[in-house]
Symmetry: C2
Subunit: 205 residues, 2 copies
DNA sequence: GTCTATAGCCAGATAGAC
DNA sequence: GTCTATCTGGCTATAGAC
């Protein structure tokens, strides 16, 4: 197989996925028709169905790429560049990263909610969303554990337990951010992030 | 206007709304067709369209009744029956109430997510969901403020600020609960509630 | 108010030329 | 691989008898 072809296919898929994401952001997943995606991508029906076998596959592809290289990577970068990182810093970094993501000038939250809802009735998407959330949570656990041990002198067992609970809290703060950002047009993201960070920072193991 | 008729109409609307909710829980909002709702309600197309002018109106009706008389009322009841109520108790009560709600043996969360997603692209539903979340949050603020003043001797100003931040946290814990309950079939609700409560309880103004 | 039957539409997906 | 043209099916909503 010539390597150019593989590359080419990936590019086309990315092009289609990005177009679909823009449509989803503008109209929601199930108000977006294939015609919309076709028009937005600049391709034709035939071309698109050559790369994806259904709208559902495109939707999954959007889900797979939407936060790729964002939240988790930002958190991991934070850990490698600094010393022990507390939960407040982790949350701040994650939320700011989530906040800066855009699809055609719309916040990611609008699309993420759609995908979560879709996941409830689509097994493939559900597994994908689970993986992403679990991956982020796991990314939180390590630093928090280390922080509890090194900064607060906790035993490994207590540190692990603490990290488990706090990481859950951080995930909820992140999902809470997504929901409210999507549902309240006047949602004060800055204040949410600042308040969340302050509250979390005030907690010690 | 005879009063029986008004009552009758309400009953029919409730019947249709309940049937729709069951469908939404089973198949998701946009995989549910009018035929599904018709079959589930035991009525006919004509009958249904006599009470609702579109599927969208039915969806809004489901949204309006789904958590009616649950979360908020439970929290308020707690406040009137006991003395000052701390944030941990508030959250526990709210989550347990959310947890006990069912639509045809399915958790409420599955339907709530669908409605949130729909709200992003439906103005009416969006306003409704905003109201519900705001109402619950406001229901949290009062008790928390009182608790901060009476139990921890905070000044009114500091108590108010604290209540504002903590109520936001509680809302996020609740939305986080909904998301994870819907996305993870093996989600450990008991542990979530217990952990959340413990963490919140450990926080003082 | 409720029924059955169906209009009318638009969705997702395919066929076949290039 | 991509295009245009089109099929098929199911959807929401309505018409009109009772």
């Amino acid at each position: 197989m010539p390597k150019v072809t593989e590359q080419y296919k990936d590019n086309r898929r990315a092009q289609i996925t990005a177009a679909a994401a823009r449509c989803f952001a503008a109209k929601g997943v199930h108000r977006t028709s294939m015609s919309d995606i076709i028009a937005e991508s600049g391709l034709s029906a035939g071309a698109i169905y050559n790369h994806f076998k259904s709208k559902q596959e495109i939707t999954v592809s959007v889900g797979a790429t939407l936060i790729k290289g964002r939240v988790l990577e930002a958190v991991q970068a934070l850990e490698s560049e600094a010393g022990p990182v507390g939960p407040g810093q982790l949350l701040g970094r994650a939320l700011r990263e989530l906040d800066s993501g855009r699809v055609d000038d719309q916040p990611l939250s609008a699309v993420i909610i759609q995908l979560w809802a879709e996941a409830v009735v689509d097994e493939t998407l559900m597994v994908l969303m689970q993986q992403q959330i679990r991956t982020i949570r796991t990314g939180f656990v390590g630093p928090i554990k280390r922080w509890a041990r090194e900064v607060h002198g906790q035993t490994p067992a207590r540190a692990a337990r603490w990290a488990d609970e706090v990481s859950q809290l951080l995930i909820s703060m992140a999902t809470g951010y997504v929901i409210q950002r999507a549902l309240f047009p006047d949602f004060d993201r800055r204040k949410y992030i600042a308040d969340a960070q302050r509250i979390i920072t005030s907690m010690t193991p």
